[in-house]
């Protein structure tokens, strides 16, 4: 199994694509050249840094360092969920709802995979734990931010309907049930679509990477299926937890709709 190592000039050629795209964006006044370049630089720096961190981590394999890196990943994902909300919860809930839900779902799913499915030794072996957690966390983050965003937007726009239902004596669960169901659906659709299209329309990135690195295709496929299921589980349960927590938080102890617990949208 020999990997064709990439040289800096190989990466530079790929980077020309980004530069060309930025140039065109500027020429056509689309205005995405700045965020495009910034995000390209960010991803380069971040990926190199994580590469270095992983190199050190793989050599030492200390559980404390694995836990610390996992905590940092969770915190960053939690912040990302928060800033993607158009109307986020006021106070600690803004960060808390998404982060707690991601913790519950992603960590459980990853632990399950490590302990019961892959059975690595030690179970926290960073070569497996960190990439798996990263993939589950990244997708769960998307599902949760989509779901929460939909829930809070729906509640704010459908305020009169929700309150009319409360006034008719419905409890808060029923009054918000339509928005809640819709929010959960919206959070889960991307992973459902990804699973349907996998292998036919798209070759998932993880599998492609493994194949490029020389793994036999069928082995790569098996890992990809495992990862897909883990992602679907993490995203699905995470979205359900987050949307449920969010819906509960929209009502107070007297089951009043409390939109004052949401920030107003910035624009």
């Amino acid at each position: 199994m020999n990997v064709l190592a990439l040289s800096p000039s190989d990466l530079a050629i790929a980077a020309l694509l980004i530069l060309a795209l930025a140039g065109l964006s500027r020429r056509l006044l689309i205005g995405v050249e700045r965020p495009l370049l910034v995000s390209a630089v960010r991803s380069t720096v971040q990926l190199f840094l994580i590469g270095l961190v992983l190199k050190v981590l793989f050599e030492s394999a200390q559980p404390l360092w694995v836990a610390l890196l996992a905590a940092v990943m969770l915190a960053v994902a939690g912040r990302e969920v928060m800033v993607r909300q158009k109307r986020r919860f006021v106070g600690g809930w803004g960060f808390g709802v998404g982060t707690l839900s991601m913790f519950v779902s992603s960590f459980t799913v990853t632990l399950l995979a490590l302990l019961l499915v892959i059975g690595t030794d030690p179970w926290y072996a960073p070569q497996y734990a960190i990439p798996l957690l990263g993939m589950v966390l990244g997708n769960t983050m998307n599902g949760i931010s989509l779901g929460l965003d939909r829930l809070t937007q729906d509640a704010a726009q459908g305020r009169t309907i929700i309150e009319a239902r409360l006034a008719l004596g419905q409890d808060w669960r029923r009054a918000i049930s339509d928005s809640r169901r819709e929010a959960m659906r919206v959070g889960m659709i991307p992973i459902i679509n990804a699973m349907s299209a996998a292998g036919i329309v798209s070759l998932p990135g993880m599998m492609t990477g493994q194949i490029l690195a020389g793994t036999p295709p069928v082995e790569a496929v098996k890992y990809q299926i495992l990862v897909m299921f883990l992602i679907a589980g993490g995203t699905g349960f995470g979205t359900m937890v987050a949307v449920s927590l969010g819906a509960r938080r929209l009502f107070d102890e007297r089951q009043r709709l409390r939109l004052d617990r949401l920030h107003l949208p910035a624009n």
């Binding site: 309907i161 239902r165 006034a167 008719l168 004596g169 409890d171 007297r254 009043r256």
Partner: protein, 201 residues
Amino acid sequence: MPRLRIQQLVTRHVGPVDLSIGAGECVCIEGASGSGKTLLLRAIADLDPHRGEVRLDDTRCTSLPAPAWRRAVALLVAESQWWSERIGDHFEYGVDAAWIEGLGLPAAAMDWQVARCSTGERQRFALLRTLMQAPAVLLLDEPTGNLDWDSTRRVESLLDDYRQQRQAALLWVSHDAGQIGRVAQRRYLLDNGRLQEIGQR
């Protein structure tokens, strides 16, 4: 003992408000737009945070679960709200056919899509929907706001029957002096967040 007793109720810029309504009594509130009539009704239905106390037949609002309170002390909002496809989907306690007829509504309309009904028809169906949960107190926010003369009189007469038969207490927000004269036993003006009695029959 009054059916509904409001003591030192404060909600946003409204209050403190004290008001008692007896069983089978109808009290009207008038006041300029923005004077807080809707806010007052919402606080009584416990839909907004508020201070002070509201009692139904000596039962404190906070001693009942919120949904049970709102079924008994029912707010009918000014603009009717619908969330399912058909009108009939919104009636979980069924509907009294005599009431549909009494309000001049077509009985078949229970199967209609909500979008097919006019604003006035929807407003009357919303009233029926609230009455079907048999509230002891009705908080009515301009219940005839979108209705023609004939429908207005039908609504007034149905509410009158309901009030007398069930000994319900009605708190009725209206802008129509003629209507207030017909339905109110006492009338109040809400001005600057304060409630002043302006007439009694």
